[in-house]
Symmetry: C2
Subunit: 371 residues, 2 copies
């Protein structure tokens, strides 16, 4: 029997940022990916993320998002305590967002073990995820930053990888491995060799860590960022908060938590990994939406959208209907059509990743009203 008391130290943090550019025009600045139900489950991704974590952390859940999403997040998560909604005045990348959550929690209780889980991922089955997080909390309690690795299903070039070393042989979490290092998104040949070799997992950005250990590494690697975040956290529950955030936040360096904490911590031998025994998708593009939504019987066409009126002949593909318009599709295999009131995307599943460059082009040409 392992001591389940450590679970009482667990606090969920949900970074809800990122526009999801590859899902434009469905996902956009005003209505980012995490505010959509992309799987036909009836829940938005952030709601599903919250619900997945609630059995573990309950009311001990903190959300970090942009100011523009305050109302939407509160609508999605009415249970969330106001003190646990952290709003960034402007995006400062993941080290600032997650670091601020860690700093605030550290001021509340330095023994907290936080788990950071992005608001826009799809995970099944929930029980396997929760089991992995529980294991991770036990490993974290032994003094590790614990990442949850995803078993690769194909030689993806879209994710970073975690290379494991030996098993940690912990009685409380026998599946835990030491992490040798993080590796950047590989090319196809390298990715294939990772799969052949074994010992590599996808880095889904999920980790569980004692806040003091996380902040220790942040301080060592990004002292300026650490100092700024601690200054804000010190006044978080006080009237000085607004002024302090306004003054300090804009000056903070922009960097990713991977560089600021995870990679140097791995080099220091402080990172462990729990293999996630669940299927995972970051819904990175419209091809993913096709994968994640069962197509109608006798058809390869996935249709998302209440009251959608879609006619298709032999076409396979993905249709997201955010209007009530009739949509007729003729003769394009794997077509992707995303129909919103002010913007329309037409592409194919094979070109789904290129949506990002289309959005960049629209931004460059000044069509920012639809981004």
């Amino acid at each position: 029997m392992r001591p389940d008391d450590v679970l009482k130290r667990f606090y969920s943090v949900i970074p809800a940022g990122g526009v999801g550019t590859r899902l434009w025009p469905l996902s956009r600045a005003a209505a980012p990916k995490f505010l959509h139900d992309l799987t036909g489950s009836g829940s938005t991704l952030i709601r599903a993320t919250y619900a997945r974590l609630a059995p573990l952390s309950g009311g001990r859940t903190m959300v970090v998002s942009g100011r523009a999403h305050r109302r939407a997040v509160m609508e999605q998560l009415p249970e969330l305590a106001a003190a646990n909604l952290v709003l960034e005045p402007e995006p400062k990348d993941s080290a600032a967002a997650i670091g601020l959550a860690a700093a605030i929690l550290h001021y509340r209780d330095p023994s907290i073990i936080m788990g950071s889980f992005a608001a826009d991922q799809v995970i099944h089955p929930v029980e396997a995820f929760q089991s992995a997080v529980r294991d991770a909390v036990h490993v974290a309690a032994e003094g590790y930053i614990v990442t949850i690795g995803i078993t690769p299903t194909h030689a993806s070039t879209g994710f970073g990888y975690i290379r494991t070393a030996d098993p940690l042989n912990l009685a409380s979490a026998p599946s835990a491995f030491a992490v040798a290092d993080y590796v950047e998104k590989p090319d196809e040949g390298t990715a294939a060799s990772y799969l052949a070799t074994g010992g590599y997992h996808w880095n889904a950005g999920m980790f569980v860590a004692p806040v003091d250990l996380l902040l220790k590494h942040l301080e060592a690697n990004e002292p300026e960022l650490h100092a700024g975040l601690m200054e804000i956290a010190a006044v978080w529950g006080t009237p000085a908060r607004a002024e302090t955030v306004q003054r300090v936040w804009p000056s903070l360096p922009k960097t990713a938590i991977d560089y600021a904490v995870a990679e140097p911590a791995a080099a220091a031998g402080d990172v462990a990994m729990i293999p996630g025994g669940f299927s995972w998708d970051d819904v990175g593009d419209f091809a993913a939406i096709g994968r994640l939504n069962a197509a109608a019987e006798m058809s390869d066409l996935t249709v998302l959208g209440e009251g959608a009126r879609v006619y298709s002949d032999t076409a396979s593909g993905v249709v997201v209907s955010d209007t009530k318009r009739v949509i007729a599709l003729i003769g394009i295999d794997n077509v992707v059509v995303v129909d919103t009131p002010d913007a329309l995307l037409v592409t194919t599943k094979e070109h789904a990743q290129q949506v990002k460059s289309a959005v960049e082009h629209l931004r460059a040409s000044g069509d920012i009203d639809v981004l």
Copy 2:
């Protein structure tokens, strides 16, 4: 010198019917093809048709259309005399529409030579068309129904063909041929043999004929239709018109002018042909719209629609934007996107002809609000 007096007998008739199903959702029951500017010329097709004929017939132009289009036709052709706008209470195919115009004109002056030219065709150069019509009027004055044949540019299976016999050797129109017969839309092999053989022209449905000769053939082949049309024409300018149209029109047989007049007249040796020395397109589908509109420089993408906001990467194709929405196209060659407020079509130029079956499917499934 030929006697140009016969041109004073000339009267243009413009049948403006036909929804243009293959151009859905741009063209539809409430806004059929002839009410659109499909070539970026700044004129709707019916306006361009009227303008093309005006130098020949001036105010002697009659339009036959559906009741629903009264206001739109009057807006497009403000010069049109009210007595020259013939509105069908319901569609009865071309023999009734053109026959009624012939009957009304015959009551006005039995020596009239009418020319019938559909409202939804694109013709260049206008001068060559006008020259062909002038020739046709001269031939008609000699007692012929004169069709204007289109020189085939490819082995089309989408048109009927006109097979010519010997030249008529008329001094007033040396290019005129006798017509041996009309042949139905051929299969590909047959069409190719027509081109190889020579002596075949496309039947564009354009013809010039003395109204008395046209009515004589109509009476011989469709006596019931002829009688009904003459009954309506007899009261056209009188208070009895409304009642008579209402009573007689619904009972008229539905048939095409080809079967009711042209083919039997050809068999009787009464049909001649003038070869049209102009390029002609019936804008049958969205591929035609691509052909008829010069694409932007350095791109194979044709964009129709004022204020269109289209981003495309390497895609070629046709975009008709009837909304102000941003449209992003990624990676589909020859894509066709037609964006209207209540209906969206996505297909390719290769599948342009299949739009018709999509519309039929929508009708069958009750989506008639967008047809």
